[in-house]
């Protein structure tokens, strides 16, 4: 890609970033009395068009959900249209592929319990590189094997780990085998695509390795909480983390306490976990740690805004910021429907 194209893309992305809702606007939304007021307020933001088109089909929380999905889907499409060049698009698609993985997992889970195709279709994320026609065709397959076969017939790369592990799945009758195979394939594949020396690849690789660390720490915490056998623990870790390799993760699991994990993480980038209140440590409330880890990852992603303007950094940073904004709006809207107290609602929001 030539720098002129980046100039245009970055100018557009910076303009889009300036339109993201700031803390004050989100707090104003959270302060609204009910969902109707939240929707009215959203109509005065860049979500106006999405809300208007959603309100034709839906009302209430369904309207907000639909509008947010539309907004996310449009944003991805727009960002991809800015980014020209095969290599850069491949790198951008790594970010989108996580939704493909989630969607394939959902289809496999649905087929495993013989859920109707329309039910599965409703549970798919409106993002990812796989188009709607592919997803519809996959949901219409008879069973797990037929889904994998169709993926293989169409030459979709996710069929490889699934075909490799299908025998094990058939023997154990445990879908988790296929899910882990897919997850591991995603990260291995993504790291191999971003293995080069270019600045863009470095950015993608940096985010991926951080994400692997964060995902692995979350797994360690859940393994400890549910007292999973140490011999089994290694199976659930993804290789390729920035600071934590499988041996280190096994050592973390071996501490058998969350307190122990926090102590072992001293000196790493993840020692901020020590700031999680003691009551959550005692209660083994993993979601509190996950929120800290996700916020850390978000900080890292938003830090990309200060990176080289003539690179993919801004696009990646913007996508993370947009995802966070959508998550915050969804939290506000859903909490308003359930009349969750404002204090509790504010605790769930992530401001960076």
């Amino acid at each position: 890609m030539i720098s002129v194209e980046y100039d245009y893309a970055n100018a557009r992305i910076r303009a889009m970033k300036s339109r993201l809702l700031d803390r004050k606007e989100l707090e104003e939304l959270a302060g609204k009395l009910d969902l109707e007021s939240v929707i009215n307020q959203l109509e005065e933001t860049p979500y106006r068009e999405d809300i208007e088109s959603a309100s034709v089909k839906y009302t209430g929380i369904a309207c907000v959900e639909y509008a947010l999905r539309q907004s996310l889907s449009n944003t991805f499409r727009l960002i991809l249209s800015f980014v020209k060049g095969e290599d850069t698009q491949t790198l951008m698609e790594i970010f989108l592929n996580r939704w493909d993985i989630q969607n394939i997992k959902t289809i496999l889970r649905g087929k495993n319990i013989h859920e109707p195709a329309n039910e599965i279709l409703e549970s798919l994320a409106p993002a990812g590189a796989l188009d709607d026609a592919t997803l519809v065709a996959l949901t219409k397959q008879l069973d797990v094997k037929a889904v994998i076969d169709l993926l293989a017939t169409w030459g979709i790369e996710y069929s490889r780990p699934l075909t490799q592990h299908f025998k094990e799945y058939s023997e154990r009758k445990d879908l988790v085998v296929l899910e882990y195979a897919l997850d591991k394939f995603y990260y291995e594949h993504a790291l191999s695509v971003a293995a080069g020396e270019s600045y863009d690849e470095g950015i993608i690789r940096g985010m991926l390795t951080r994400e692997i660390d964060v995902t692995n720490i979350k797994s360690v915490l859940r393994i400890i909480r549910d007292k999973v056998e140490l011999e089994d623990a290694q199976y659930y870790f993804i290789r390729g983390g920035k600071e934590l390799d499988v041996n280190k993760l096994s050592a973390l699991s071996a501490t058998r306490t969350i307190d122990g994990v926090i102590k072992q993480l001293t000196g790493t980038s993840y020692d901020f976990l020590a700031s999680v209140p003691d009551e959550y440590v005692k209660m083994e409330k993993i979601s509190a740690f996950e929120k800290e880890l996700d916020t850390f990852l978000l900080h890292k992603a938003l830090g990309l805004f200060t990176g080289d303007p003539l690179s993919i950094a801004l696009a990646i940073g913007y996508l993370w910021a947009k995802l966070n904004e959508i998550a915050n709006i969804r939290i506000i809207a859903l909490c308003k429907t359930e009349y969750v107290p404002e204090k509790e609602l504010m605790e769930e929001l992530v401001f960076v």
């Binding site: 899910e179 995902t215 859903l334 769930e348």
Partner: protein, 222 residues
């Protein structure tokens, strides 16, 4: 009143029936007292479990709302597909004062993250916490199903017993007593009639004897 034979045998029979009915009533009352005691004993645990269930349900609902909000509805629905749906329970029976009540196997539904059927990657601890809260709620529902069914069956039995006691006390025993009274009155009446008849016969015999005497005297005089 039902057709009764006002005989002494019938009276003895009725008195026997009254005694049996009163014994039955007393036994049913004793059974009812025992059932009521058991009923209240179970009711205390039911109301306690109900309160626990209400709290657990509110916590689970709140947790689900937050998980839906933070993790996205699609991720949550996807995770729900992965969880196994069948739940097999072993239900046996036991007797409380002759009332058959179910005995549900106390099987804990709470699962570990590995048993829920979804991988840890792509799902969050928040989803685990929500699942765990609903599993706790399900545990309480299973426990409550046993005690509430027992309570309902005991309640039905108490009601049926009360109806039986009332039927004995207010219909059968008074009816038997009325019949016995009627027989007694009828027998007394008959005895009085017999006495009067005997007196009358005696009087007639005496009059006849007197007439015969007078006739004999007049014949002799003539």
């Amino acid at each position: 009143m039902e057709q009764v034979h006002p005989t002494r045998m019938e009276l003895i029979k009725k008195n026997g029936q009254i005694k049996l009915a009163e014994q039955g009533r007393d036994l049913l009352r004793q059974k009812m007292d025992a059932l009521i005691q058991e009923f209240f004993h179970i009711m205390i645990s039911v109301s306690k479990s109900r309160e626990e269930l209400d709290i657990a349900a509110i916590a689970a609902q709140r947790s689900l709302c937050v998980a839906e909000a933070v993790d996205d509805l699609t991720a949550l629905k996807s995770a729900s597909f992965a969880t196994k749906r069948a739940l097999t329970l072993d239900i046996r029976g036991k007797n409380i004062m002759g009332v058959p009540v179910p005995l549900v196997e106390r099987k804990t539904v709470t699962k570990s993250v590995l048993e829920r059927g979804y991988s840890m990657i792509g799902t969050s601890g928040r989803i685990d916490e929500t699942a765990e809260r609903y599993e706790t709620e399900l545990d309480l529902i299973i426990g409550l199903a046993e005690t509430e069914t027992s309570l309902r069956r005991l309640g039905d039995e108490i009601q049926m017993n009360r109806r039986r006691v009332n039927a004995l006390e207010q219909v059968l025993i008074p009816e038997l007593k009325r019949q016995a009274k009627y027989i007694k009155i009828a027998i007394g009446e008959r005895e009085r009639e017999d006495l009067y008849r005997l007196k009358k016969v005696k009087k007639i015999i005496e009059q006849n004897a007197k007439k015969k005497k007078q006739t004999a005297a007049s014949v002799a005089a003539a």
